[in-house]
Symmetry: C2
Subunit: 292 residues, 2 copies
């Protein structure tokens, strides 16, 4: 049996070494542009997507050296999406990870550019990987499609559209959660599979979808039950804004039961994969039980 | 001698055929996301970057079929940059090409997502090209770097930083113009060269830089002398906002003389390239003399 926390920390640290090197070498003018990029990249966070990518790499026998640039690009995409999502005209969040959001520090204009800059830089990294062969191009393209207008951006757009919509049903909520949250997690899990020619591609994609839902459902629960100290962002916002969430649709208890069900589904998917899936199973339980 | 207008129109129509097909096939949910992308892509515009790319393709013997997806991606990047640049916290423009800016039609949140969506889709197109070989990857990466934090985005950032800065000097103005405007034009000119292994790469890069400056200088002149009917966006804004432009630095006559000088430089660069550079020379004169 592995020590989950220790293994999580090892993956996170391996990733953050690369991230910190990237930030040290980040050199662009004017200063405020590089400062704003680094600020959001170094706000901390659990580095869920990189950790998952490295864990699946271990499962499939893909060495971390082949994955770390993909993990970096994916984290840049995730970070850009948070910066733009926090903007007043989007989700309007003044805090992120217990610290002021990018636009509260650098202003809205610079925050828009910081997001654009991170997204573009992610593709500079991914295009650099493309020279290594067709599997690398396929992996880069998969990340791109998960992040795009049939992926994360469509989820953000639907989220914005239904912000104050009292008629949101389970299908719409599913569309938003799958695209807004699951897609980048699917990308994290799929990249190692694509690099080795597609081993367990469908299973890992499905696992990513379910883990994304689990994150989103537990997020909805934490918005009601969590504390600012633990979660690091404004809470109770969803109900204040009349936003439809799983808690609104199922009630708090219903959301918890559904989360248990999704978590069990993650375990079932992992049972169908040969190899040591212990860490990934514990990861699902960790998401279900998280307090931040 | 070629008929410049006729040739320009041919290039533009060849590109717009591909763009219109792209828009017809654009299918993403929710509807407002695809509507907002199509709105800005189909606002018209001169399609300068695609036209230049196809013209250099003809000069170097690269068939348009190899270039059109690069041209499409570049136009998507250019269009995203206009949407984000028009936002109130950026350049704050209510009009673009004589029609309401994206955010005036779809709201600020959707305009941010439309820009993000165009940028991401550009890379989906470019990554699709990457399977064709290393030169294609290099060309895609070159566009990416021109658009990025050491390219266009750094120019936008510097532009924002110096918005109301009375101390802007020629070096800073040069940095802004080179990055904000020249870089994507350099990309347009360089792609055909990269695809054929780098023929006249330095010359075409230099020409792109100069043409970008020429566009920017004539833009500054039109901001003083143009009419809304011709230019299709709010004019006189620069001086109203106390924005530093070439006209502020050189005066109106000084800007015109400098524009003539830059235009002559473009011709000189083209004299150093073998083959039929007639269209590109006329292009430089066209930019110098444009009224919109």
């Amino acid at each position: 049996m592995i020590d989950f926390d220790k293994q999580f920390t090892e993956y996170r640290q391996a990733f953050e070494k690369v991230l910190n090197e990237f930030c040290s070498n980040l050199d662009c003018k004017p200063q405020i542009l590089s400062d704003s990029l680094k600020y959001s990249l170094q706000l901390g966070g659990k580095r869920v997507r990189p950790v998952l990518m490295l864990a699946v790499g271990d499962l499939l026998g893909i060495e971390s050296g082949k994955l770390l640039n993909f993990a970096l690009a994916l984290e840049l995409i995730h970070t850009y999406s948070l910066i733009h999502d926090d903007l007043p005209e989007m989700d309007n969040d003044d805090y992120r990870r217990g610290k002021p959001s990018n636009h509260k520090v650098f202003g809205i204009g610079n925050a828009i550019l910081a997001g654009d800059g991170l997204l573009n830089t992610a593709y500079s990294i991914l295009l650099g990987e493309c020279f290594k062969g067709d599997n690398y191009i396929s992996a880069a393209k998969y990340i791109c499609d998960c992040a795009g207008i049939n992926g994360m951006i469509s989820g953000q757009s639907a989220d914005l559209l239904h912000e104050n919509d009292e008629t949101v049903d389970l299908d719409t909520l599913g569309f938003i959660y799958e695209n807004k949250t699951s897609k980048l997690i699917m990308a994290a899990l799929a990249v190692p599979s694509i690099l080795c020619g597609g081993r367990y591609f469908s299973e890992l994609k499905f696992l990513g979808k379910e883990l994304g839902f689990l994150f989103q459902y537990t997020d909805d629960i934490l918005d009601v039950e969590g504390s600012f100290e633990n979660v690091g962002k404004s809470l109770g916002k969803d109900s204040e804004e009349g936003k439809y969430t799983s808690v609104r649709l199922y009630g708090l208890d219903g959301s918890k039961v559904t989360s248990d069900f999704i978590c069990a589904n993650c375990i079932k998917i992992l049972e169908g994969i040969d190899g040591d899936t212990d860490f990934l199973k514990k990861f699902a339980y960790y998401v279900r039980q998280r307090t931040h």
